[in-house]
């Protein structure tokens, strides 16, 4: 295992120390492993808390700041944080207008956030609303699964909900906009290589030199199928087709097209993928209103990419364009 780390068991603690030093505008709670907006709690504003296993940086800690999250809880690598953390985050950002928990749909995240919400309401009297993000079309949402995984749409949710909270919408309205984004967004990912969890010390799975995994999750969970390596244009098809089959993206004001890198895939390749994806969308009559290209929800050192489409309207576009100032996403401020 080749990694720039000190102790494989302490990567989250050590990285958080770096975040604290690099971003004095944020507040870091080292005990609870929280990244918190410097000016939290913002009185009268709905507080936004997210979190999850580490290893997906910049998600979630890199999305804390004005116009996005109020706090993020960092779990161990690929492991949901624990209720104590979410409780501390919820208390820290409660400005009296309630707190939203943005939860990616994984059994562990759901259960830990559920326990935290019970505790926050019972112990601290904070009004908590939880919204679950489940956008990964690689997984069939049926009785036979834990439901779709939460992946790329989470990034878009955090930006758009952040803008909605910033402009003063109330708890119910912020929850509504999150649900709308989750309903109108879909993702699909792929991997060229496995990732290596530091504490495990070796790749999570073996992928032969001539194969790739289609429908991969962001934790190295195996995907839909393993296929022969193929040119970018074929990979684009394998990702875009299931997304378009699952939801009708035509007829609105276009889509936000988000091409995400899994951690070890350079920007050069992501732009090649973007060109192929854009041309497929064009052929399908889906206009692109905005784009986002880069590694925003990663899987440690995995090589690969994912595509997320979100059908937008005027309101969502305005919220997307609103100023945001976080380490990972910044514009207009």
């Amino acid at each position: 295992m080749k990694k720039l780390i000190n102790d494989p068991e302490a990567v989250v603690r050590d990285a958080l120390a770096g975040v604290a030093l690099a971003h004095p505008e944020l507040r870091i709670d080292r005990e609870h492993r929280l990244v918190i907006r410097g000016d939290a709690p913002v009185q009268g504003k709905v507080g936004l808390v997210s979190g999850g296993g580490s290893g997906h940086e910049p998600l979630h800690g890199g999305f804390v700041g004005p116009g996005m999250l109020d706090a993020a809880c960092a779990g161990e690598v690929f492991t949901s944080p624990v209720p104590d953390q979410m409780l501390a985050a919820t208390t820290a950002v409660n400005g009296g207008a309630g707190v939203v928990h943005i939860v990616k749909n994984y059994t562990g995240d759901i259960m830990n956030f559920e326990m935290a919400a019970e505790m926050a309401q019972a112990e601290a009297g904070v009004e908590v609303a939880s919204v679950v993000i489940d956008d990964d079309v690689a997984v069939r949402d049926s009785l036979y699964t834990a439901g779709r995984r939460g992946v790329g749409v989470t990034v878009l949710v955090e930006k758009i909900a952040g803008a909605a909270a910033e402009e003063g919408r109330d708890l119910a309205a912020v929850v509504d906009v999150i649900k709308k984004v989750n309903d109108q967004g879909r993702s699909m990912g792929m991997a060229l290589t496995s990732c290596t969890v530091p504490a495990a010390g070796k790749p999570t799975f073996d992928l032969p030199d001539d194969q790739m995994e289609i429908g991969i999750g962001i934790h190295g969970e195996p995907g839909r199928e393993r296929v022969q390596l193929a040119p970018a244009r074929d990979v684009a098809r394998m990702l875009v087709e299931p997304v378009l089959e699952d939801y009708d993206f035509t007829g609105g004001d276009g889509v936000i097209c988000f091409v995400n890198g899994m951690g070890a895939t350079p920007l050069l390749e992501l732009y090649i993928m973007y060109a192929e994806i854009a041309s497929l969308l064009d052929r399908a009559g889906v206009p692109i209103a905005r784009s986002l290209v880069g590694p925003y929800i990663t899987s440690l050192d995995m090589a690969g990419c994912s595509v997320t489409l979100l059908k937008v309207d005027d309101d969502l576009l305005r919220l997307w364009d609103a100023p945001v100032s976080t380490p990972g996403l910044r514009w207009g401020a």
């Binding site: 624990v82 326990m115 495990a200 999750g217 969970e221 195996p222 839909r224």
Partner: protein
């Protein structure tokens, strides 16, 4: 012996159980992680090790005045420690298991066979409630529930001592664990795999089997000494 479940399960035995469980988890960390790599995200051994090390450390560090006076205190501390240190799916599930065990033991300082079987059943119910899963979904419940049934059956027959009953319980857990291999996962991360989850042993069922094996060992050990 015959007809009587004579041994009792006290705070010292329970503490020995938790320590043995922590040890076995440490020893099998790699294996559990490997199992989770095949159908999950490759962290189950790491998660359980983090949690049980924390429990073990608390057990060691609690001074003589701080020793749990009753089983409920011991199990509540264990459950809370697991909830607050493990995360993932296994944290709330194992945490809830011990918190329910605590609730079921009241202020008892020791349990007899039927009492332990009842408490164990309560723990399993807690796992079912928290995870909304049932038998046959390829989870830790596929080791826990057959074990609970075997425990009840052994106690019901009234023909064995506690150590023997727990041996049968651990055997049932092992059988249940092996039975997860051909199962299709419909809960947890493994469910994302669809048919590809078939043919692999469930990591949570593996760690739960260690829980039952160390319980049997701890009681047999305290019996012999």
């Amino acid at each position: 012996m015959g007809g009587l479940v004579s041994q009792s399960f006290d705070v010292a035995t329970a503490t020995a159980w938790l320590r043995r469980f922590a040890e076995r988890i440490a020893a099998e960390k790699e294996w559990l992680t490997e199992l989770d790599s095949a159908i999950g995200d490759g962290d189950h051994g790491i998660n359980m090790h983090r949690g049980m090390s924390a429990v073990d450390e608390e057990l060691r560090s609690s001074g003589s005045g701080d020793q749990p006076a009753d089983l409920a205190t011991l199990f509540k501390r264990t459950g809370m420690k697991l909830v607050s240190s493990v995360g993932g799916a296994s944290g709330p599930l194992y945490g809830t298991f011990f918190l329910r065990l605590a609730a079921a033991t009241g202020d008892a300082t020791s349990l007899d066979g039927p009492g332990l079987a009842q408490a164990f059943r309560a723990g399993c119910d807690g796992v079912m409630a928290r995870g909304k899963a049932a038998l046959g979904e390829k989870t830790m419940l596929d080791a826990l529930l057959p074990a609970a049934d075997a425990f009840d059956a052994a106690i019901g027959e009234g023909g064995d001592d506690l150590a023997d009953a727990l041996k049968a319980t651990a055997d049932a857990a092992r059988t249940g664990r092996e039975a997860t291999i051909p199962m299709l996962a419909t809960k947890g991360r493994a469910s994302y795999l669809g048919d590809r989850s078939i043919g692999h042993l469930d990591p949570g069922a593996a760690s739960s089997t260690l829980l039952l094996e160390t319980l049997a060992d701890a009681v047999a050990g305290s019996d012999g000494s």
